[in-house]
């Protein structure tokens, strides 16, 4: 409750939340706002914004850019959230094992994590999606597969920190069982930074997805923002609106998520406050 109240008083966090809510609502009601498929060629090719009832203009095939942006929100959010969750699942399991068991397990897992963190993630993502062919599932799994290292490291650090915290050791001395200690004491105390980083991962996942789509590695059946920009790239001289609006949509969404995530971080992580006092 305190957390909620603190968040409500966090200005940039609230801006992020409000923006995010607007985007989520647009995503939800997109089929109502634009009942015609965003793939439908409703106007003349390269209709400028505002003409023919296409207030964000039409693309090369005369498709409504506004409809694409609205429907694209569904895709971007879906892929962003799903792949962040995938990354969290991988990262938390690896980080928790590494942090709790320590020793050889930790050594092997952390070397692997470091490796994954150093290699150029985007190039790996390209390689993976290209190999397994772009589809919703492969894209989500790929983004998850290249985004987990920070979460693993964070989880490990939290587990390491908490593993030898006195209250955990006290629980151990009190005879509580390992699984109860992990689930009852360590995880709940580690979860807020993990959630914060996961929420920020949603933002990077959206950026990653848009870059993949831009490179032509999106699911060809999904209208996504990156795809729209990619389609607008070659015709930027003829139709600036094709790339400007979807790009703005990405920018605003990612900004909103980052603001929200950082607000969350400030509220859940009172270390900043403590340091100040």
């Amino acid at each position: 409750m305190d957390t909620v109240r603190a968040f409500l008083r966090h200005p940039s966090g609230m801006i992020g939340l409000v923006l995010l809510l607007v985007i989520v609502i647009v995503a939800i009601i997109a089929p109502k706002l634009f009942p015609v498929s965003p793939w439908e060629m409703v106007g003349a090719p390269f209709t400028p914004p505002g003409e023919d009832g296409l207030w964000l203009g039409g693309d090369t095939l005369g498709r409504d850019v506004a409809a694409g942006v609205a429907h694209g929100a569904r895709v971007s959010l879906l892929i962003g959230i799903a792949s962040a969750l995938a990354a969290m699942a991988i990262g938390v399991v690896i980080g928790a094992m590494s942090g709790y068991f320590g020793g050889k397990v930790d050594l092997v897992l952390m070397r692997m994590t470091e490796l994954f963190q150093t290699i150029p993630a985007f190039v790996l993502a390209i390689l993976l999606v290209a190999t397994f062919n772009p589809s919703l599932l492969t894209i989500i799994l790929t983004i998850g597969a290249v985004s987990w290292p920070p979460l693993a490291r964070l989880t490990r650090a939290e587990f390491l920190r908490l593993r030898h915290r006195e209250f955990v050791e006290a629980a151990l001395c009190q005879g509580e069982r390992t699984w109860r200690i992990v689930l009852g004491h360590i995880l709940p105390n580690a979860i807020s930074p993990i959630l914060v980083v996961t929420s920020l991962t949603v933002a990077t996942a959206i950026l990653l997805e848009s870059a993949l789509s831009f490179m032509g590695l999106g699911d060809p059946n999904l209208m996504s923002w990156g795809f729209m920009i990619g389609a607008g790239r070659t015709v930027i001289r003829n139709a600036w609106w094709m790339s400007v609006f979807p790009g703005l949509a990405i920018l605003i969404t990612v900004l909103a998520i980052n603001l929200f995530g950082e607000g969350l971080s400030d509220v859940l992580n009172p270390r900043v406050l403590r340091r100040r006092s």
């Binding site: 006290a170 151990l172 009190q174 005879g175």
Partner: protein, 567 residues
């Protein structure tokens, strides 16, 4: 200026000083209407518990108050200048020039990325006009390092702070402070982070330098032991107000304010008088044999790991209802010993016999069952409680893990809370709502919930203010009798050990250097190291002889008399 005038003019005068805290703080004024003065060659101690505002005053002297905090009334005069009215240049001349300051944490107070020689040089270069030649500066630095008693100055000045020990770092800080022959040295808890023996050396060094140079010293401390050792005058602060001030001997012997008396009384006196009744010695309850532990710190590939020996053949026995104190300086391995007995740290070799079994051989469920009999209370009361667990749950969880029903466990928890001096309603609240002392009581209640036979207290009172310390110690003593607890009391503070323990073990670098009954160890130490430790107890001269007048020519008397002659 004549010699006499110099003596008469205080190097520091604080007059009716009030400092305001930013809005929303726990009180409006950090410091309220405080006045005192320091003369040349005089040591004035500002004493108070945490939050008393003593550091604020020290910072106000050099105008180093944090943002948002400001002087609202009164004035500070340092060497005839008011820092609050100085411009940037004047202020810079004052800081490190006429008045220098050292801090509690010498490690964090030195720039970690700069060689210490450079940091001292900088102090000289910032103040000496005209700027001396490089060779001169170099020579000055070497002299200063020698003066503060650091060996091999040539090598030392090229070191980085992390390469030095805590004592060495504080000496570097002092050398830096001395660089421009300040009239006033402000020392903000300069020895709190150091071991007792080091503390003693540093205090002596400050004293020597003061005498040589006739500096005034403003020493901030929470420890009346230190006050007794070094102060000429004392200013006792509470909640930002002066409770009492006067000559040290006066205040210590005849405190006027009740609060001062409380503080003085709370100082562990290392009194050996109330050593607890004779102990029947049947079979030992716990027997530790030849524990061995070496920590290896890996330093990357191809480099030998750094080895730290934490236990080197440590053996001890513990009987029912006995309190064994384990004392030693930091790094002596005393905490590791406690953790190894709890099986929180795995020993390399040795045995821990308890209830007929070797705890070291136990695994899984058997270990879990055995642990029930052994409980621990940790140093940091803030880290010891799960912030997301209600106090009642924290206590009840243990019995429940061993099969007690939730209702029974909660009832037990409430009884225990009452027993440790808290109310039943405490059970439904979260740890963050409690103070350090209250939390430590909760931790004790938690440890006792499983009806253990052995309780390990790992620096259990070290993080608490002295007055709270005394209360918690009293509680532990009561409980011990009541529950016939055997207790291993791990502490760096010999005074506490003397007060509570039946027997004492002195650890140094993982080895037991001395072991014996408290009376033996404290009155007739066999080892030089033990003697050093005992000698280093601050205020020993004063507090060991409550009568004070008699016998041993204590340092305290010596100094007070000498200084009195001088004046």
């Amino acid at each position: 200026m004549s010699e006499a005038a110099q003596i008469d003019t205080p190097v520091l005068a604080v007059e009716s000083l009030s400092i305001a805290l930013p809005k929303g703080g726990d009180r409006e004024l950090a410091v309220e209407n405080v006045s005192f003065a320091i003369k040349r060659n005089e040591v004035v101690c500002l004493v108070g518990e945490s939050g008393s505002g003593k550091s604020m005053i020290a910072h106000a002297v050099l105008s180093l108050l944090p943002r948002g905090v400001g002087i609202v009334a009164g004035a500070v005069t340092v060497a005839e200048e008011n820092p609050a009215q100085l411009d940037g240049r004047g202020l810079r001349r004052l800081r490190g020039g006429k008045a220098a300051m050292i801090f509690q944490e010498p490690l964090s107070s030195l720039n970690p990325l700069k060689r210490v020689g450079k940091q001292i040089e900088e102090m000289i270069l910032a103040h000496q006009q005209p700027v001396p030649s490089a060779a001169e500066v170099q020579a000055r630095v070497q002299t200063l390092l020698t003066q503060v008693g650091l060996p091999n100055p040539q090598l030392l000045e090229r070191s980085f702070p992390f390469e030095l020990s805590g004592g060495q770092r504080q000496r570097v800080m002092i050398a830096m402070a001395m660089a421009n022959r300040p009239a006033l040295l402000i020392a903000d808890e300069p020895t709190t982070a150091l071991d007792v023996t080091t503390q003693r050396q540093i205090l002596r060094l400050i004293g020597d330098l003061r005498r040589e140079r006739g500096m005034g010293v403003l020493l901030i401390t929470h420890d009346f032991g230190v006050v007794a050792d070094v102060a000429h005058r004392v200013v006792v602060l509470r909640h930002g107000k002066v409770v009492e001030q006067g000559p040290a001997s006066e205040v210590l012997r005849h405190p006027k304010a009740a609060y001062t008396r409380e503080l003085i009384d709370a100082v562990p006196k290392a009194r050996l008088a109330d050593i607890h009744g004779t102990i029947a010695r049947p079979e030992p309850l716990l027997e530790v044999v030849g524990l061995q532990k070496t920590f290896r710190v890996k330093r990357g590939w191809l480099q030998p790991a750094r080895e730290v020996v934490a236990a080197d053949g440590v053996s001890l026995t513990l009987h029912e209802c006995e309190t064994l104190a384990v004392v030693g300086e930091s790094g002596s391995g005393k905490s590791t010993l406690g953790r190894m007995i709890m099986r929180l740290t795995e020993p390399d070799a040795g045995a821990i016999r308890f209830g007929g079994a070797d705890l070291r051989q136990l695994r899984g469920e058997a270990l879990r069952q055995a642990r029930r009999q052994l409980q621990i209370v940790f140093q940091d009361p803030f880290a010891s409680l799960d912030p997301r667990q209600k106090v009642g749950d924290a206590i009840a969880r243990g019995p429940m893990a061993y099969g007690m029903s939730r209702t029974d466990a909660m009832a037990l928890a409430k009884r225990l809370l009452v027993r440790v001096g808290l109310s039943e309603t405490t059970a439904d609240r979260y740890p963050h709502e409690f103070s350090g002392g209250q939390r430590q009581r909760i931790c004790i209640a938690r440890a006792l919930a499983l009806k253990p036979r052995v309780l390990i207290a790992d620096e259990a009172v070290s993080a608490l203010d002295v007055s709270v310390q005394a209360q918690v110690l009293a509680l532990l003593a009561e409980l011990r009798q009541e529950m016939r607890l055997a207790m291993i009391f791990i502490t760096h503070d010999l005074r506490i050990a003397a007060e509570i323990a039946d027997r004492v073990i002195v650890l140094q670098k993982g080895r037991i250097v001395e072991e014996g009954s408290t009376a033996e160890v404290f009155t007739a130490p066999r080892q030089a190291y033990t003697r050093d430790l005992l000698d280093a107890i601050p205020g020993r001269a004063f507090f060991d002889q409550p009568g004070f007048a008699a016998g041993n020519a204590s340092e305290f008397d010596d100094r007070v008399q000498r200084d009195a002659l001088k004046m």
